[in-house]
């Protein structure tokens, strides 16, 4: 009896809110009928819950209809919970409404939102603009960085060191400079004055000089202004006809030392924006999720092409298979005329971080079989692209 007394006493709060399992539903009332101290405690807790509940007539409460039970869960909840516990193990989901099911709500799931809510949400933060597939990763990356930068409304957070000798504001300023070549190509006017005049020889020198110039210019300004400049330029890029129409983004141009169709330059912009967002997230201690799955694979495919080009046609061939990519996401890097010397498996996110220079070649988690030297050559080449 005292064993039951202890057990039931521990259950009284669950009983009062109607959160017992079906088995407990039998033992608890039996004990309460026999044990005065438990009955007193139960009554006290139940009265508390009754006050939390408020009057019975809650128009859209979870349970309706007259019941014999005195309060919320202990009466009406019992039957419902009895069925809940018969649900498949590990899934405490009583109804279709109350819980995520991982299914898509259709092409425009936002349509299920009450109009006032949708309007309020859009006022608070615009959705990523709808653009053609090649620009979608950039649109998402811009939205993602924007979301992260909203977390900087705490004094002092802007000066958190990020990468190189940049703080958060400098990193955003760098992105203004980094997005600029594509913006200029699309006929957009630079948003930060270009006093330099003479173009530096070689894209790397010019790029570094422009980054330094923009950072110096922005340091004299409040961070909100830097964000506004970056965000306006990004919005202009996404509003360009080349973002909406793949047909207008097909011509190849050399930007920052890489000759690619304009469409792919949009993917490069997404890559860089995401890498720096991840940098900022790490600096702030916030976990930046990887790009949405389809976008992640767009980044991987582009990076594989650039890596393959960099390795050249004579490198020892390595079969590269990013994890989770399936059979149509495997590539032989290097020579096509020799048998494959090794196989390399990387997580797609790790591969992107390696390409972005965020992993040392020896440190990236990998699965590899075959010629170790060939694998090392691929990893080292990937890490040394340093294009972002």
């Amino acid at each position: 009896m005292s064993g039951e007394h202890e057990a039931v006493r521990d259950l009284l709060a669950a009983w009062a809110v109607g959160a017992l399992t079906p088995a407990d539903e039998r033992t608890v009332p039996r004990h309460l009928a026999a044990c005065e101290s438990c009955a007193a405690e139960a009554e006290r807790l139940r009265e508390t819950v009754r006050l939390l509940d408020g009057p019975r007539a809650t128009p859209s409460g979870p349970t309706t209809g007259p019941t014999t039970g005195p309060v919320n869960g202990a009466g009406t909840g019992r039957a419902a919970r009895g069925t809940r516990d018969k649900a498949p193990a590990g899934r405490g989901r009583p109804t279709g409404e109350d819980g995520p099911d991982g299914r898509s709500a259709g092409p425009d799931g936002a349509a299920g939102l009450p109009p006032a809510l949708l309007a309020a949400a859009r006022r608070a933060r615009p959705a990523a603009p709808r653009v053609a597939a090649h620009a979608a990763p950039y649109a998402a990356a811009v939205a993602g960085l924007g979301a992260l930068l909203r977390e900087l409304d705490v004094p002092g957070r802007w000066s958190t060191p990020v990468v190189h000798d940049w703080d958060v504001q400098d990193t955003v300023a760098h992105l203004i400079a980094a997005d600029e070549p594509l913006a200029r190509l699309l006929g957009l006017v630079p948003r930060v004055p270009r006093p330099g005049g003479a173009e530096k020889a070689g894209w790397e020198a010019a790029w570094a000089a422009r980054t330094a110039e923009v950072i110096a210019h922005q340091r004299a300004r409040p961070p909100a202004e830097t964000v506004a400049v970056w965000s306006a330029q990004a919005a202009a890029l996404l509003a360009a006809p080349e973002a909406a129409d793949a047909g207008r983004a097909g011509h190849a141009t050399t930007l920052m030392g890489v000759r690619l169709p304009v469409a792919d330059h949009f993917v490069v912009r997404a890559f860089e924006a995401w890498i720096h967002t991840d940098d900022i997230g790490r600096a702030l201690g916030l976990a930046v999720p990887p790009p949405p799955e389809p976008h992640l694979w767009q980044l991987v495919r582009l990076a594989v092409r650039i890596l393959g080009r960099a390795l050249g046609p004579t490198a020892a061939p390595v079969l590269f298979a990013p994890a989770g990519g399936g059979s149509d996401a495997q590539w032989v890097l290097g020579s096509e005329d020799e048998p494959v010397a090794a196989e390399l498996v990387l997580d797609p996110v790790d591969f992107c971080l390696l390409i972005g220079g965020r992993y040392a070649p020896g440190e990236v988690p990998r699965g590899a079989v075959g010629d170790a030297a060939a694998v090392t050559a691929v990893l080292e080449r990937a890490a040394s692209l340093a294009w972002l």
Partner: protein
């Protein structure tokens, strides 16, 4: 998919500005959020306003939710409860002001006690909900799952990744604390809505 993975995936899409993810979050948790808000505010209109605030916040500040630290269900439920308590407090302030103004004595009938509820009960309920909002996070999570979201203590334990006994203990400590808050004299800071 594991519930935590579903949350993480939804969060990922919210972060990257995918509006359809907000629609899915609303379809999954809109009912719970409105229910929680209604229980505190006793006003259908206020509950809708709170729900709007809660989901607009999820959308505009997706990084406020961290899938590593708890489920989206609990997070939204707690946010709705907190906002609803704030709504009632500010409503109480307005009523006091209105009373001082005399002419607008019955300007806000919506939040008044319903036919089944006495003024004293209404005040005690607000006191309890205020105390609930102040519970330590681990206790508050269990209360939200077991009380608002209709989980058994066993399901709550699974969802929170804690032993069953811990869930029972937390629920009990929480409810006792709430019961005691009724016995204690009301905190003047809460009365002022501070």
């Amino acid at each position: 998919m594991e519930p935590t993975l579903v949350d993480a995936e939804l969060h990922r899409r919210l972060v990257y500005g995918d509006e359809s993810a907000l629609g899915e979050a609303y379809a999954a948790y809109g009912g719970l959020v409105r229910r929680v808000a209604l229980r505190v505010t006793r006003s259908q209109a206020a509950a809708e306003d709170v729900a709007q605030e809660v989901f607009a916040h999820l959308w505009s500040r997706p990084y406020a939710f961290d899938a590593r630290r708890g489920s989206l269900r609990t997070w939204l439920s707690m946010l709705a409860h907190r906002r609803a308590v704030d709504w009632v407090r500010s409503e109480a302030r307005h009523r006091k002001d209105a009373r001082a103004d005399d002419s607008a004595l019955h300007a806000i009938p919506d939040s008044g006690p319903g036919p089944d509820e006495t003024v004293v009960d209404r005040e005690r309920a607000l006191l309890l909900h205020s105390a609930l909002a102040e519970l330590p996070l681990p206790q508050r999570e269990v209360v939200h799952l077991a009380y608002f979201a209709g989980r058994t203590y066993r399901q709550a334990a699974v969802e929170l990744g804690i032993p069953e006994g811990t869930a029972k203990t937390r629920l009990r400590s929480a409810l006792r604390k709430l019961a005691e808050s009724l016995a204690d004299p009301p905190d003047p800071a809460l009365e002022r809505g501070a």
